[in-house]
Assembly symmetry: C2
Homo-oligomer: 102 residues x 2
DNA sequence: TTGTAATTTAAGTTGACACTTACGAAAGAA
DNA sequence: TTCTTTCGTAAGTGTCAACTTAAATTACAA
């Protein structure tokens, strides 16, 4: 999961995710948005795919990419579950303060 | 913000965040949980501090660390705001489907 | 077949960063 | 002061990942 988080933390990869968040795009068009080489983008796409953050659909010689919602939601849920104990503790403390008031 | 996300994606740093999520701990005790050298942990603490993910409190020769809730929440909100348009689009599509039913 | 377009894979380079050991700083005790 | 504790900073090293260019793959058209 940390690897997945690291995957989205790269600026280029995050920009790719923004591109394919709302629509499906072929690799070439994705690469067109960046100043770096096509292979570089291809490698970023592979990282995103390996981490289940995008889907690939092949059509003829082209490959279309789009975001994969589960993968993204996984990260959000992971962070929530990390934070939950902290919220529990806060709740616990305020409840204790309530009891002490009475 | 991406830098902040990258900061938490390191396994050691994430483990540190878990340690100081619920309680405040001195640097030495934090380092005691790991097999690497104390300076290594000190450097990780600096990265976390620079990215506003932990707070430092000095007491005599010791330094206590605890998680910084705003910094962590920032990440969650950032991801939510990234995902929001996607949800909007989904809502839009279902509403359109509703209208077409009628 | 031959060619061409879209894309990935291979191989190599470079820079960032997570470590190490050695040294320095700050605070308090003897 | 001097010693000790706690911790950070400095400097150096090795690994890894993000790039490059060149070559291979895949699908399809001429």
């Amino acid at each position: 999961m940390l690897q997945k988080i690291q995957a989205i933390s790269d600026p280029t990869r995050f920009a790719i995710l923004e591109l394919v968040r709302d629509r499906e795009l072929p690799a070439g068009e994705i690469a067109g948005h960046f100043s770096m080489s096509r292979p570089a983008i291809s490698q970023h796409l592979r990282v995103l795919k390996e981490n289940e953050l995008i889907r690939e659909r092949r059509e003829g010689t082209r490959r279309f990419y789009r975001i994969r919602s589960e993968g993204f939601r996984d990260i959000q849920k992971f962070l929530e579950s990390f934070w939950a104990p902290r919220l529990d503790k806060l709740k616990e403390l305020t409840e204790q303060a309530e009891r002490e008031k009475k």
